[in-house]
Symmetry: C2
Subunit: 355 residues, 2 copies
Amino acid sequence: MNLTKPATLADIGRAVGVSAMSASAVLNGSKTSTRISAETRNRILEEAARLRYRPNAAARALNRRKMNTLGLAGIVDSGELNAYFLEILNGVLEAAGRFNQNITVFTLHDWNVDSGRLADFCDGRIDGLILVAPVIAKPQPELFPAHTPFVSLHSNHAIPGVINIESDEEKGAQDIVQHLLQQGHTDILHLAGPAGMLGTRRRLAGFKKALAAAKPRKLVARSIEGGFSSEDAASALRTWMRDNQGATLPTALFCANDASALGCMEVLSQAGLRVPHDISIAGFDDTIAARTSVPQLTTIRQPLRQMGGKAVELIVNREQNPRPESDNIVFPTQTMFRASVAQPPKKPIPVPDLR
Amino acid sequence: MNLTKPATLADIGRAVGVSAMSASAVLNGSKTSTRISAETRNRILEEAARLRYRPNAAARALNRRKMNTLGLAGIVDSGELNAYFLEILNGVLEAAGRFNQNITVFTLHDWNVDSGRLADFCDGRIDGLILVAPVIAKPQPELFPAHTPFVSLHSNHAIPGVINIESDEEKGAQDIVQHLLQQGHTDILHLAGPAGMLGTRRRLAGFKKALAAAKPRKLVARSIEGGFSSEDAASALRTWMRDNQGATLPTALFCANDASALGCMEVLSQAGLRVPHDISIAGFDDTIAARTSVPQLTTIRQPLRQMGGKAVELIVNREQNPRPESDNIVFPTQTMFRASVAQPPKKPIPVPDLR
DNA sequence: CTGAAAGCGCTTACAG
DNA sequence: CTGAAAGCGCTTACAG
């Protein structure tokens, strides 16, 4: 394969018989571009086309101190991007296209271990960095180099100087539990996220608020710690079912997120129970998983794509508008009514024996 | 926010009282690095740490003509990366980590329209470009600048000078249809991909081979054009069911990929049919969707992550080994036996009325 | 052991 | 209207 070198402004200048600056003025639209004679201008354009000239990105970045590239950093768990990250990535890519930005994805494995790497990314290869669900208990300033703007999504802790984007999770949780109550459910199990996480606390708070607001009637409501992954949720539910062998099965499950809801669906399906006929399930997030599951998942939509797009927008517009509207931007949530929630079964069902 | 400028080698040199080159030698490990006195060396290291020096990526890239970044270009359909792309992205990111490469994602919407953009990405911002399932009927050389190495995954057409990575799709299709036959299925409907696509033809060929190899017995087998998306498959199946109202329902569906299998599952579920009790379904790819669906999908695994990793490896090792082992690398497939395929129902079931 | 020079490809003042 | 100069931050020969 013939790896010829790409043409430079100097090459074009030489071919046309002008300086590289003239070529620059014509091709890369600096202020002087209009002051080049039409004649020269055309010859430069022709030659550039002939040589397939493309301005070198590194050279330009060095000069302008701008790469037109934003970084997106998030956790890759068990070698796999999760559906939540994917939604955000979709929104980020879409907005990046609109703003003419490239997106470089940085994968981390553990915020405790890897938060020190963030600063390494700020070496001129990106103009800003978007943190997806960072968990940085002690956000020391040296982790966030001052010359690079950061924006976070669902940050677990406030980071000084970093705008955070989130959604009203508590309200969302409250809404969906209210929906379950309206459907007639009287025995709801909340499969919560990992203890100590902000999202876990907020969903739990919404769960409790909805119950408190319910008309006084015989309600059973409890929550157990599950996790944000299918596996963690499945194993938490299995454990709970073993421990509650023969007791009455809840009529509905409110899960920490879509992934955990699907993990539970799998466990229930293996136990011979049908969703929503025997038991209703609600998730949280409205990721692609909620839309492709069978039955489709009733869930709380966080507008993750818009939130990702907003992150891009904030960084890109930072120059014109360095003072953001707020340091914590909250998006509304929305209940997505789908097939996984129905009315409770007429008769109570016992917790099945897991073979 | 205080956007101070990052420290440069010159800053360090000035502070220590040596030249920027000495700092370069010590910090960025050029050949001469060992020849700096221990004393100077230490003072440079200390100062660099104090100033949080980080070599500027753009400057280094300009000098070395290497960005340590690879591009990944693929289609974003209806604003959404699909699960297939996601698997590859996971493999690419993993391998990129191993080889110390960054990954920039470029989203295209239509190969016909956007293939011209590929060359624009080759402006020094990436050192190589991975094409995901390109469909470029006339792969003219000017689309692929000679100074940038390209690798494709599942290319629909051979591209001169571009190594392609694929899997043995025909064999995979043959295997899974054989599995259906072994389970006792005698009426199999193949919901094929879009007409004219290489992957569609290969799966169809495998389907036919398996049928031909089956012991002669009463078999019904047919195929209809569906598509690679849930929506297209669902609508194709709905149409087929309307057209075949009251006829005998196939006992098994072999779908073009996992996404289309899930689309079909949704249609069947809405029609009150249960998988696999009433009808079996098999997919293709083994994406995350196959593992999170309920029931989990029996499917053909294409090792998409390894394939993505291989693409990275080929580009990174290109310098040492510019002549690749082959210009078309074929990975083996594997049948994933899961819950969506079982034995056919005892009695034939009629094609249901879609309300 | 260390530094002055030149260059990567582009751009931005500044002269003419 | 056009070009010579200087600089972005780094690296690679080449001198001393």
